[in-house]
């Protein structure tokens, strides 16, 4: 990734209906500031490199903490309980307490388990998820790496996860774990295909795999130009598949408590369990972020910021306007993502779990053909109405 950041796409093919605001370029200003202190450009760049990664790591972990709190509170509200209330105001410190508990728990490795694979499994589950945050944009320049293959990188990274699940399922030396691991892998590869096809339809409209270009293509007329209006079927397919990939209810078969104890996590405790826990919640937030990028206009405000600036007679390039635009962008992205997370939590308490055969039937016999038809229809519409569907 270090290398690819250097060679950003020189001239991305941007098909937008309006001019794209330059936005904030934190990297450039940071490096300029340090070169002002007398550092060489290379050294300034080297200083900059770890910062976004750290930031993303922190953002991901904080996102999980918020997510856990939301999950507890919303679940409680759905069931007409109160939920956590003593750890901090409204129980906001509860996730931290949870985390600390897991951190200090004994790390048990079952006697006849395969120690090496047992340890490596959770790591392999977590790392690809965190790496995928590389391509999530919070603004025109507010992402770690605008690689040209953007969204494709996420799809391919998320395909590593099943290996980790199979690994931990196998290494636990426990039939529930093995079954859970196998189920997780089967589910993951089955839903990857309609998911990729749904993404492909969006990519076809934006003529680019880059997440930034995908958002820019939706930024013409505010909420009206969001992809959800042009890709309603794709949106539903993507959301279902994303839930399945995250193993959220109604697709949480790999850890179905009534059948498999806790699936591949059965034998895990302490920090290794925490890694799974972290991984699944980061993945949920990530999926929600990507849904908002692909279908809900990413960092775009429902009304285009340029229009607002125009009404207020402010030049769009002014530093203050840029700062506000960037902040609005971040807030909008996060807001949309957490709206989707809220939806996922509600789904958790309102839908029953599907059986494994129903799950595979849904994936292969329903979603896959629909996704293919959606792709074909998108291609046809693109040929027929190039102005609206990205010529």
């Amino acid at each position: 990734m270090v290398i690819t950041t250097d060679c950003l796409l020189a001239a991305p093919i941007v098909t937008t209906l309006a001019a794209v605001p330059p936005g904030l370029d934190l990297e450039a200003s940071f490096e300029a500031a340090f070169q002002g202190f007398g550092l060489s450009p290379g050294a300034a760049h080297l200083l900059w490199l770890p910062l976004p990664m750290l930031l993303v790591l922190v953002a991901a972990v904080v996102g999980v903490l918020v997510n856990v709190w939301l999950e507890r509170k919303i679940s409680a509200a759905v069931q007409q309980r109160i939920g956590p209330e003593y750890a901090g105001a409204l129980g906001v410190l509860q996730p931290i307490a949870d985390g600390l508990k897991l951190l200090f728990k004994e790390d048990v490795i079952p006697a006849r388990a395969d120690g090496l694979l047992f340890t490596l499994g959770p790591v392999l589950v977590l790392i690809p998820v965190i790496l995928s945050w590389l391509v999530v944009p919070f603004g025109q320049h507010l992402l770690i790496s605008n690689v040209g293959i953007g969204i494709f990188l996420w799809i391919s990274l998320s395909s590593i996860q099943p290996i980790g699940l199979l690994m931990s399922g196998y290494a636990s030396n426990n039939k529930y774990s093995l079954l859970g691991g196998l189920r997780a892998a089967a589910q993951s590869i089955s839903y990857e295909i309609p998911l990729a096809l749904a993404v492909l339809a969006v990519v076809m409209m934006s003529n680019s795999l880059s997440t930034v270009d995908i958002v820019n293509q939706q930024s013409g007329a505010g909420i009206l130009s969001w992809n959800i209006w042009r890709q309603p079927v794709g949106f539903v397919i993507f959301w279902i598949c994303a839930l399945a990939e995250c193993e959220r209810l109604p697709f949480d078969l790999p850890e179905a408590e009534e059948e498999l104890v806790a699936g591949y996590q059965t034998e895990y405790s302490g920090m290794k369990f925490a890694l799974f826990y972290l991984g699944s919640y980061i993945n949920l937030v990530l999926s929600a972020l990507l849904v908002s990028v692909l279908y809900l206009g990413g960092w775009g405000f429902p009304l285009p910021v340029e229009w607002l600036a125009g009404w207020l007679h402010q030049p769009i390039d002014a530093p203050l306007v840029q700062l506000i635009t960037a902040s609005v962008g971040i807030v909008m992205t996060v807001l949309k993502a957490y709206l989707l997370v809220f939806l996922a939590i509600l789904l958790r308490w309102t839908t029953p779990r599907v059986r494994i055969d129903q799950l595979l039937d849904l994936g292969w016999k329903f979603l896959l053909p629909i996704a293919l038809v959606n792709l074909l229809v998108t291609a046809a519409l693109k040929l027929a109405f190039p102005a609206v569907f990205g010529g």
Binding site: G42, L153, I155, S156, G169, L182, A185
Partner: protein, 204 residues
């Protein structure tokens, strides 16, 4: 040496070492599950090498296809049939191992010698970096159109064939005459090389 090229060298060394050791492990380890997991590592290292060569699309495709599909399917197959079986000992196994080791070693020496004595002077097409995706698309729909379309026939046939081989329904009677079917149309007298009706093992 600039920072970038130094980083590149380090990355290349790490990836190559992982690749070679992983590949050796795939072949030599007695535990087939370890071999399968190491194969995933090998695929990932190859993807890393593609990334170093600035071919990010190929790298992502490598991860998606080989790690995400091929390797997962291999693991699946192994874990679904991971039954301990006592196979008959192959006579002269050590000798066979030594012989195949010698052949492989000889081939390796030959390849290394050839690789080092050949002047690989031709530069080849210049790397296009991020434009590779577009370039690949152009090629697939112009000069590589025939193999690209033929690959779809290949995949369709592989899929149909897998279904045909995997499903259980062999008709029990000839649909024209109604006579019972017979798949051993060929030379009944000879005992098959594979055991046709395995002896029922006692339930453990």
């Amino acid at each position: 040496m600039t920072i970038a090229s130094f980083t590149q060298l380090i990355c290349f060394s790490i990836l190559s070492i992982t690749l070679v050791l992983g590949a050796l492990g795939v072949v030599l380890l007695p535990n087939i599950v370890y071999s399968a997991f190491l194969l995933g590592g090998v695929f990932l290292s190859v993807a890393g090498l593609y990334l170093l060569l600035n071919a990010s699309f190929v790298a992502a495709a490598q991860v998606l296809v080989y790690v995400g599909a091929v390797n997962v399917l291999i693991l699946f197959a192994i874990m679904l049939v991971n039954k301990k079986e006592n196979l008959a000992a192959v006579p002269g196994l050590p000798l066979r191992r030594v012989l195949s080791g010698l052949v492989c070693g000889g081939l390796l020496a030959l390849l290394i010698r050839v690789a080092f004595t050949t002047p690989w002077a031709l530069p080849g097409p210049s790397p296009v970096g991020e434009e590779a995706t577009i370039r690949i698309g152009e090629h697939l729909f112009s000069d590589y159109l025939l193999p690209f379309e033929l690959a779809s026939v290949l995949l369709l046939m592989a899929m149909i064939g897998a279904i045909v081989l995997a499903r259980r329904d062999v008709f029990s009677s000839d649909i024209v005459t109604g006579a019972p079917v017979d798949q051993g149309l060929i030379e009944k007298a000879r005992t098959p090389l594979l055991v046709q009706n395995p002896v029922q093992e006692p339930v453990r």
